[in-house]
C-alpha cells in the first residue's frame, strides 16, 4: 500500500490553479482539453445546425429550398454532425470536467487524451468529406443493402475509437483521484452521473464497432452480404443507447447548474444515484424501439425490450423528473422564497441563461421528448407513427430541447470558469435559451403533429408530384411542416446567437484570470462552500408536487388518446 502511495506521490505532477469563484482546483491539462473538446463541439454544432435549417426549409412546402440530391446529402450530414459529433465532443468535455475538475485531480494521461481528440477530429472530418463527395447520402443510419463510400464508415469507426479512448481517460482520472485522495468520501452526484454516461458509452461504442467494422469490410468488398435486420438490431444498440449517454450527461448538467446557480443539492443522494443506476441496468434494451414494426422479432422480445424491462429506465427518468425540480424548490425555499406554491419558481434567476436553459430543458425533455418517447416505444402504438416524421419530432424533443439546450446552458459556466472569460453581450445571452427553446419546442411539436397525419420522414416531396401513382396527404400535414420551418428559423436564430456569444466570449470576453471581477451571471454563494448535508426532514415541496402531477396527468391522457387512435385502424390479428 505504501509503495503504491509513494508512486502516486512521485507522479502527481499536475499543474493546478485554484478557481476564485468556486474554490475548485483546476488541472491545466484538463482545462486545455476541455477547451479543445468544447470548441470542436461548437464548430460541429454550427455546421450541423446550419444543415438542419436547410433541411427544415426544404421540408417547408412553400419554400422547398434544396433540390432532392442536396436534400438527402445535407440531411445525412445534419444527423452525423449534430447527433454524433457536437454532442459527443461536448460530452467528452463534461467527462473531463466532472472527473478532473470536480474531484480536484490531475487528468490521467493527457497525451492519450490528446490522441483521442485527434482521432475524433480525423474521424469526424473523414465522414464529412465522404458525405460531401455525394455518394454517401445514406442517412445517419446507413441501413444496408444501401451502401456508402468506405471512408464514411471508417470515419465513424475512427471517431468512435477516439471517443472510447477519451472515456478511458475519464475512468483513469477517477482512479487517480481516488488513489491520490483528492476528495473525501464518495464522488459528487454530478460525477456519478457522468460515470453513468461513460459506462453506457462503453457498451454503445462497442455495439458501434461490432456492426460498423463488418459494414466497412462489406463496403470495400471483403464481405459479400450484410443482413439488414441483424444490422438494425446491433446498429441501434449504438444508435439508441448512445442517446442514453446524452440523457445521463444532461441530467448531470441539470444537477450541476442547479447547484451553481441557486445552491441546489439533491433531496436524497440515494434516490438520485439509484435513478442513474437504473439507466446503466436497463437502457441497453432500447435497440428494440427501432424494430417494433419490423418482421422477424417475436412479440415478447419486443415487449420486454421496448419497455426496458417493465419501464425501469423510464422510472429512472421519472425519478429525476421529480428530484431535479424538487432540489431546485428546496434550495429556493432555503434562499427565502417560501410564499405560496410557486414563489420559488417565479423568483428563480430567469435572467441567467444557464438557469433558464436548464429549466426549459428539464420541462421540455419530460413533456415533449419523454412522453412521446414512451408512446412511440409502445409495441402496438408504434404502428401509428413508425418512420413518420413523428419520430424526428420525438427525438428533437429529447436531443435538441433536452440535451442540446442543457449543454448550451452549461456553456454559460464553462466560459467563465474554464475559459476564464466573462460572457459578452449579456442581454443577448439572456434571451438566447428562450429563443432556441421556443424554436426547438416548435420543431418537435409540429413534426409530431405532421407525423400523426402520416407525413413520412426523410422525404423530399410530401406532395408526391413526380410519382406515378399520386395521392394527397391531409392539408394539416402541409401546415404543420410550414410551422416546423418557421420554428426552425426561430431555433436557428437562437443557435446563431449561441455561436456568436460563445465565439465572441472566447475571443473578446473580459479576462477573469486576473483582478477581482465579478461574473456577469453570478454563481450562488453556496456554490463556493460545501453545504451541510443530511436530510432536511421538514422540507415541503408543494410546487414540485403540482408540477409532477400535471406531468403525470398529461402522460396518462396522451397515452390513452393514442390507444384510441390505434383502435380505429384496420384490423390486424
Amino acid at each position: 500500500m505504501t509503495a503504491i502511495d509513494a508512486s502516486y506521490a512521485g507522479t502527481a505532477a499536475g499543474n493546478f490553479r485554484t478557481c476564485r469563484y468556486t474554490g475548485l482546483k483546476v488541472d491545466s491539462a484538463a482545462q486545455t482539453l476541455i477547451k479543445a473538446n468544447a470548441v470542436a463541439a461548437v464548430i460541429f454544432l454550427a455546421v450541423g445546425g446550419l444543415m438542419g435549417l436547410l433541411v427544415a426549409l426544404t421540408r417547408w412546402p412553400a419554400v422547398h429550398l434544396l433540390p432532392s440530391e442536396w436534400f438527402y446529402l445535407i440531411l445525412t450530414g445534419h444527423g452525423a454532425n449534430v447527433l454524433l459529433f457536437w454532442i459527443i465532443f461536448f460530452e467528452i468535455a463534461i467527462l473531463y470536467f466532472a472527473s478532473a475538475v470536480l474531484l480536484g485531480s490531475r487528468l490521467a494521461t493527457p497525451r492519450i487524451a490528446w490522441a483521442a481528440f485527434v482521432l475524433m477530429i480525423v474521424g469526424a472530418v473523414m465522414t464529412n468529406i465522404a458525405v460531401f463527395q455525394g455518394d454517401s447520402s445514406v442517412m445517419f443510419t446507413s441501413y444496408p443493402p444501401m451502401q456508402a463510400a468506405p471512408h464514411f464508415y471508417l470515419g465513424l469507426i475512427v471517431f468512435a475509437v477516439g471517443a472510447l479512448v477519451a472515456v478511458g481517460v475519464f475512468f483513469g482520472t477517477l482512479v487517480i483521484a481516488h488513489g491520490e485522495r483528492t476528495y473525501e468520501g464518495s464522488i459528487p452526484l454530478v460525477t456519478f452521473g457522468a460515470l453513468t454516461a461513460a459506462i453506457i458509452a462503453v457498451f454503445t461504442l462497442a455495439s458501434g464497432a461490432i456492426i460498423l467494422v463488418p459494414t466497412f469490410l462489406w463496403s470495400v468488398g471483403l464481405i459479400s452480404e450484410m443482413d439488414p435486420l441483424l444490422y438494425k438490431v446491433i446498429w441501434w444498440g449504438m444508435g439508441h443507447s448512445s442517446q442514453q449517454i446524452n440523457v445521463a450527461a444532461h441530467v448531470s448538467v441539470w444537477y450541476a447548474i442547479g447547484a451553481l446557480t441557486i445552491g441546489a443539492k439533491p433531496l436524497s443522494e440515494k434516490v438520485s444515484r439509484s435513478a442513474f443506476l437504473l439507466y446503466i441496468l436497463f437502457l441497453q434494451l432500447a435497440s428494440a424501439h427501432h424494430l417494433l414494426a419490423d418482421p422477424g422479432m417475436s412479440a415478447s422480445w419486443k415487449i420486454v425490450n421496448t419497455s426496458y424491462l417493465m419501464y425501469l429506465a423510464v422510472l429512472g427518468s421519472m425519478i429525476h423528473g421529480l428530484t431535479v425540480p424538487g432540489a431546485l424548490e428546496a434550495a429556493q425555499r432555503r434562499n427565502g422564497y417560501t410564499k405560496g406554491a410557486f414563489e420559488w419558481l417565479r423568483k428563480a434567476p430567469w435572467g441567467n441563461p444557464a438557469f433558464a436553459g436548464m429549466f426549459l430543458s428539464l420541462v421540455m425533455f419530460g413533456f415533449i421528448g419523454g412522453i412521446s418517447g414512451v408512446v412511440l416505444g409502445t409495441e402496438q402504438l408504434n404502428l401509428l407513427m413508425h418512420n413518420t416524421i413523428y419520430v424526428p419530432g420525438h427525438f428533437h424533443g429529447t436531443v435538441v430541447t433536452g440535451t442540446t439546450l442543457a449543454f448550451m446552458a452549461m456553456t454559460y459556466y464553462v466560459l467563465p470558469l474554464i475559459f476564464q472569460r466573462d460572457i459578452i453581450w449579456p442581454k443577448l445571452a439572456r434571451i438566447q435559451p428562450y429563443l432556441f427553446g421556443l424554436g426547438a419546442a416548435g420543431i418537435s411539436l409540429f413534426m409530431m403533429g405532421a407525423g400523426t397525419l402520416g407525413v413520412p420522414r426523410r422525404h423530399w416531396d410530401m406532395s408526391f408530384t413526380d410519382a406515378i401513382l399520386q395521392f394527397e396527404l391531409p392539408s394539416g400535414g402541409f401546415l404543420m411542416m410550414g410551422l416546423n420551418g418557421l420554428s426552425a428559423v426561430v431555433a436557428s436564430a437562437g443557435g446563431i446567437l449561441y455561436i456568436l456569444i460563445t465565439v465572441g466570449t472566447v475571443l473578446w470576453g473580459k479576462r477573469l484570470d486576473r483582478g477581482e471581477a465579478p461574473l456577469t451571471f453570478p454563481l450562488h454563494k453556496r456554490a463556493a462552500t460545501v453545504a451541510e448535508y443530511g436530510s432536511h426532514a421538514t422540507v415541503k415541496l408543494p410546487g414540485t408536487i403540482i408540477l409532477v402531477t400535471i406531468f403525470f396527468v398529461s402522460f396518462v391522457l396522451y397515452y390513452f388518446v393514442n390507444w384510441k387512435y390505434l383502435s380505429e385502424l384496420w384490423l390486424m390479428r
Binding site: Y143, S268, T388, M462, F552
Partner: protein, 177 residues
C-alpha cells in the same frame, strides 16, 4: 451540493423524502401498468402486428408476386396492374426502387393474408390516410392478417429512406364495399 462529495459520508443511510417515495411508487406502478397493457392488447385489441416471417430470396419473392398479379389482374393504371384477389386469399405486395407493386383491390370487412417484402433495399410501407406504418426488409417475407374496415382509395408512401428516388415511391390499395 451536487458538484461536491456528499458531506454525510454515510449518505446511503439517510432517510428518503416522503414525496420521493410516493412518486417512485406512482411511477413504478404506471410502468407496470403500461407493460401489462401491451400484453393485454394481444388479447383484447384488434391491432397487433403479426410476427409470422419467412426467409425468402428477393428473386423468389418477385416471382411469387408476379404470378399472383398475373393470376388476378383485372385492369391496369399507368402500366401498373390492378389486382383483385378473391376474399380471404393470400395477397402479395412488393417494394422496390421506387414503387409498391402491384395495385391491390380488396373488399371491406374481409380478412387477407397480406405478404410484404422488398426485392432490393429497405422500404417503409406507409398506408395513408389510415397511417399504418411497417418496415419492409429484403430477404424477409412478413405475413400480416389485414382486415380493411373502410372502403376508399388508400395511398402507400415509402417512409424508409431508399435513395434518390425515395419520394417517388408510391403505391395504391383500393378498398371496395
Amino acid at each position: 451540493m451536487a458538484i461536491t462529495p456528499p458531506e454525510n459520508r454515510l449518505w446511503w443511510n439517510e432517510p428518503i423524502e416522503r414525496v420521493e417515495i410516493g412518486w417512485i411508487v406512482v411511477a413504478f406502478l404506471w410502468g407496470l401498468f403500461m407493460f401489462f397493457f401491451m400484453i393485454a392488447w394481444h388479447f383484447i385489441g384488434g391491432q397487433n402486428l403479426s410476427t409470422e416471417t419467412y426467409r425468402v430470396t428477393p428473386a423468389a419473392y418477385e416471382e411469387k408476386v408476379a404470378a399472383f398479379a398475373e393470376k388476378y389482374q383485372v385492369d391496369d393504371e399507368m402500366g401498373v396492374p390492378i389486382v383483385r384477389p378473391p376474399a380471404g386469399e393470400d395477397v402479395y405486395l412488393l417494394g422496390r426502387l421506387w414503387e409498391w407493386w402491384p395495385i391491390l383491390e380488396l373488399k371491406k370487412g374481409q380478412s387477407y393474408r397480406f405478404h410484404l417484402s422488398s426485392v432490393d433495399w429497405q422500404h417503409g410501407f406507409s398506408l395513408q390516410p389510415v397511417n399504418i406504418n411497417i418496415s419492409v426488409h429484403p430477404g424477409y417475407e412478413q405475413i400480416i392478417n389485414f382486415t380493411p374496415t373502410e372502403a376508399g382509395e388508400y395511398g402507400i408512401a415509402c417512409n424508409e429512406y431508399c435513395g434518390i428516388g425515395h419520394h417517388l415511391m408510391t403505391g395504391r390499395i383500393r378498398v371496395v364495399e
